[in-house]
Symmetry: C2
Subunit: 167 residues, 2 copies
Amino acid sequence: MKPMHAVALLVAVAAVALIATARGGEEPPPAAPVFGVTLPDGYRDWPLIAPAQEAAPFDELRAVVGNAVAMRAFRDHQRPFPDGTVLVKRAWKRVPSPDFASASIPGGATTVQVMVKDSRRYAATGGWGYGRFIDGQPVDEAQHRTCHACHAARVKDRDYVFTHLAP
Amino acid sequence: MKPMHAVALLVAVAAVALIATARGGEEPPPAAPVFGVTLPDGYRDWPLIAPAQEAAPFDELRAVVGNAVAMRAFRDHQRPFPDGTVLVKRAWKRVPSPDFASASIPGGATTVQVMVKDSRRYAATGGWGYGRFIDGQPVDEAQHRTCHACHAARVKDRDYVFTHLAP
């Protein structure tokens, strides 16, 4: 290969790498099957709606957090929840605190579950889209097919939402 | 009493009531003994740092939330925490969920406990001021005298803070 050709090749390789990197940065976050729900930006900084505990075999600590639309709706007792409401249930294995024998604290994160209100897009499921994620990746379609049936069977009269705002 | 005097008296009573109301609106929130810590504005909308569970006899669900300074310090692993850090530990009786046999949820609120970082004002207690509130009112001085001793005995090496940011 002539030197100029080698330089041209290097430049081409670098250009392809740059384009791939730029594309990677723009890639949409992985979306849940059935509903297309994604993990919302910044949910780790969202306000607390309520904590919960789940007994064995899950043995988890959980916490539902919400975006600003959700917090306003909870505070104003607005039902049904308005479009734009997003609820996120975070969950962790429950582990003993090393500091206090009487306390349990979050261990590793397990699932993150999302509910998004969009009364047109999700008209067939009470206006709610559902997403269930493990390590940032959505679980399979079969699991997503179970979400709404359970919410509809138990809390249809509360606009399909289990969690109450903690007092 | 002449009619005009009666009217003047009514006006005077109304004026006093108005002044009392106005003053009530400006009254500072009740401050904890020893430290002068108050319940921070808007803490019910603060982001979650981590949930926890406390075994019997307390049998509580708890959640530590933080202001923006606290969240940044947790995320950046900044220790000691900067002045302006405020942590609030909310707590509720743990009650069975009426919707799921395996789940526990918050019942009535019990205590709200506050830590405020001000390295000058609270130099004698590692830079932290403490407040413990029940129904919005601070508990007594004796209880406030116990806060720092326990934090210092157990987690001095973590800038006196028990809670870790949940993963």
